[in-house]
Point group: C2
Chain length 329, copies 2
């Protein structure tokens, strides 16, 4: 098997403490001993047993990332960035998929014993107030669906949605639909509010039939919603979708009815997936700074775990990426 601290100590002719000191870079070690230990370390190929170290230190070396599904590009991209950010703090990331269901989210939280992870990053969609009895420090990505005392990292969703709809209005669109309303999702409510404000400031009417709910935010849901909009007596001339997948589905449905984007229908998405840069037409989208979100979330948790800092909310920047789905090339 692998060498232990004791093996190294024996080989170097010193005690485990000295070896431990060298390995952890503590205090001063007599140069002579240091050299001998380093040679022994090299000779044995010693690698610390993280499990034992963490058991002793009372930490695990892991953080959990709880998200709906890795097959959703936004979360896949985010997960990659969280893993990279966690490395800077010597954390490994454990990914739990909830599939956006309450049961899935509860079971993910339940599996999150304090023995498994030091902290958690959550992207909940269905959790309720009672569920937030977390055994470890946590940070929410996105919005508080309910009012609960947990740190949060994310963009200003109202302002971002407003910017998207303003863009459509500035292009002369008057009958602007929204896809993605959802009764319990905090993020959906805020994006709807941004949509509402942009209409109001341009003195455009808020038309109920133009706001289409979506239970899920997959491409198929966007396509279905778009079809229902195209079936209206007066279809919209533009549509703001609450994420890029909905927008991709909407554009697909439009194409199937020979509705041209952007000439007949302008489309804006949200998330700025890589996919959206290469779609035909490419998709105008609200672009949250995902790297900033990932880094802020991990850094915040690190502060909380290390120094027991208080709750905090971090607002990260966003921008609007204008592409062919609103402005023909």
């Amino acid at each position: 098997m692998l060498a232990t601290l004791k093996d190294v100590a024996r080989l170097a002719g010193v005690s485990v403490k000295t070896v431990s000191n060298v390995v952890n870079g503590y205090s001063f070690v007599k140069p002579d001993n240091r050299r001998r230990v380093e040679e022994a370390l090299e000779a044995t190929g010693y690698r610390p047993n993280l499990g034992a170290r963490n058991l002793r230190r009372g930490r695990t070396g892991f953080i959990a990332l709880v998200l709906p599904e890795l097959s959703i590009p936004y979360f896949a991209e985010l997960a990659g960035l969280v893993i990279a950010a966690a490395q800077d703090h010597e954390w490994n990331v454990l990914i739990e998929q909830t599939f956006g269901t309450l049961a899935g989210e509860r079971s993910a939280l339940a599996s999150l014993g304090p023995h498994l992870v030091d902290a958690a990053i959550l992207s909940p969609e269905a959790l309720q107030v009672d569920d937030f009895q977390l055994p470890v420090p946590a940070v929410l990505l996105g919005e508080h669906a309910v009012d609960v005392p947990i740190s949060r990292v994310g963009i200003d969703n109202v302002a971002a949605a407003q910017a998207a709809v303003r863009h459509l209005i500035s292009l002369g669109h008057q009958r602007i639909a929204a896809i993605g309303a959802h009764p319990h999702r905090g993020t959906a409510a805020l994006r709807l509010e941004g949509y509402r404000r942009a209409l109001a400031e341009a003195s455009l009417p808020f038309v109920d039939e133009l706001v289409v709910p979506a239970l899920n935010y997959h491409r198929a849901d966007g396509a279905a919603a778009m079809r229902s909009l195209l079936d209206l007596r007066t279809p919209p001339d533009a549509v703001f979708c609450f994420n890029d997948l909905l927008a991709i589905g909407a554009m697909r449905a439009a194409g199937e009815r020979f509705v041209r984007v952007p000439q007949d229908l302008a489309v804006v998405g949200f998330d700025n997936n890589e996919e959206s840069v290469y779609s035909s037409p490419s998709l105008t989208s609200v672009a949250p700074d995902k790297a900033a979100i990932a880094q802020a979330a991990v850094a915040l948790l690190h502060r909380r775990v290390e120094s027991g800092d208080a709750l905090e909310n971090v607002e990260t920047p966003f921008s609007l990426q204008v592409r062919e789905s609103t402005v023909a090339r």
Copy 2:
């Protein structure tokens, strides 16, 4: 803090051994004791400390999944399925991103001490023979770029590529390009071989200028490759791309030159990403059974870790999904 075995034992008035027996479902425990222990378990909300358990058992409870990048849809989808499959074997999954570089892959392997994970699933792109001195049982997804004694799970890449190109030939295409050749990637070599065989069996010539290499397999690489093909004196009438991202990029580049897909140019991809179902036009693609790959890989590792089984190779099924990029609707 949280209750330990000792706390539970004290409360139930028994020894830790008895509690441990109950928790682990071992042997027979006197009904009376069992009841008392169960009550104490309930009262304290006891949750075993995985770190301590694993330290004792000499296992970690984790497997590593080493892949290029989560922002690549194929790997994101696969990762989701591996996580689900690992749950069935009480394993948590640790994802390491290599970004497809040799340095990244080496550092991922190095961090894989036997103390961190029980086993590993690898999707290497650049590793060399010497690198395969793994400290834990491992399984390769995709192909052996080099000849090393490691288990492998994946589809028959030659047959799959051949099926894709046969499909193009059956549609009457004669001048079929290939995008994605790569000097060191085993998978690329096999797909190229399938392409070559399909041409040969139809007595079509193998034309060097129609085979375009791609250093990376991102959308931008597909677009660049397609542009070079469209610049040829006689451009191809069909193109087989070694993954869907290349194909999406190729279709985008074709559209920018007003080349119509599939009328002027038929396109086939590989991987069957969800994205490809909703692109315009939707993309014909070779569809590996990703769930089967994930399950086979995890199950194989479980057998090796538990019973020290020998190396084995598992071949998983695939199918060809025909869509609008080869057959107009």
